[in-house]
């Protein structure tokens, strides 16, 4: 398994663990910490599961397993993958902090706008990385 795949899978498991911790927090007894912004935390947990966990696990395994190029580099331009990994996790982290801050404490809006841009750019990198390796054969 190439290093980029390992890091995508590791980051995916970290996101899964974080999502489950937030879910535990959301399932706390009624009345405990009533000022927590539950709606924002719930959205954060859903995106940790779908983007942080599933998308990163899928990307890591696809980068490893998809048909390789006959030429070098066999898995394509790995720099795109590192950019995708970094931007995606930065964007997720920014969203995770920015959304509850904005809902609970009237925080600024810019972290969410930047998080949106970072995650969209990361998806662009991931699609660009994997696309050339999708090659259909007659069988």
């Amino acid at each position: 398994m190439p290093p980029l795949s390992r890091w995508f899978v590791r980051a995916g498991f970290l996101a899964l663990a974080l999502a489950l911790l937030i879910e535990i927090l959301l399932a706390r007894p009624a009345g405990l910490w009533p000022t927590l912004p539950d709606a924002a935390l719930q959205l954060g947990a859903i995106h940790l599961l779908t983007v942080g966990w599933l998308l990163q696990l899928i990307t890591g395994v696809a980068f490893w397993m998809f048909p390789r190029h006959p030429t070098t580099p066999p898995r394509g331009d790995v720099r795109l993958g590192w950019w995708g990994l970094s931007l995606l996790n930065l964007g997720l982290l920014l969203r995770l902090l920015g959304e509850p801050w904005r809902v609970a404490g009237g925080g600024p809006f810019w972290p969410l706008a930047v998080a949106a841009l970072l995650q969209l750019a990361a998806v662009g990198c991931i699609v660009r990385l994997l696309w050339p390796r999708i090659r259909g054969t007659a069988s």
Binding site: L112, A116, L120, V123, W131, I134, G136, T137, A138
Partner: protein
């Protein structure tokens, strides 16, 4: 990778890109007139759930699950092509139903086609869930 898998995986990546763009509009709330349309949430959900995730998983499963010892190795090709066509039709109808309030009636029809496609995929893939090397 069979051509049908390649098609589904490419369409899944297109859905991922489109769904992420809609998600970015929702999160950034920019531009205000577009990003606050109530139908964007349904569009985001359908693109990411059915267009991206389900389609990618089915496309990879059709490619990578153990093949039959005899031809056709991945099951009847016509059945697979029908399943893919039904899936795309269902996805388009579901997206139209989510995107335009006037086309809301398309949403259940889209779900029905997606369910039919899933049933055909189950017929194709269930016999291939077996240890590698068995006929």
């Amino acid at each position: 990778m069979p051509r049908l898998s390649a098609l589904m995986i490419r369409l899944a990546l297109v859905s991922l890109l489109l769904g992420s763009t809609v998600g970015a509009l929702l999160l950034s709330q920019y531009p205000p007139a577009l990003s606050r349309l109530p139908q964007l949430r349904g569009l985001h959900r359908d693109l990411m759930l059915f267009g991206w995730l389900v389609q990618f998983v089915l496309g990879v499963a059709y490619w990578i699950l153990p093949r039959h010892a005899s031809r056709p190795e991945r099951g009847p090709g016509a059945l697979a092509a029908t399943a893919v066509a039904l899936f795309q039709g269902g996805l388009v109808l579901a997206l139209l139903g989510a995107a335009a309030p006037a086309l809301h009636a398309f949403a259940p029809a889209g779900r029905l086609l997606l369910a039919g496609a899933s049933l055909l995929f189950a017929l194709l893939l269930l016999p291939r869930i077996k240890p590698f090397g068995t006929p």
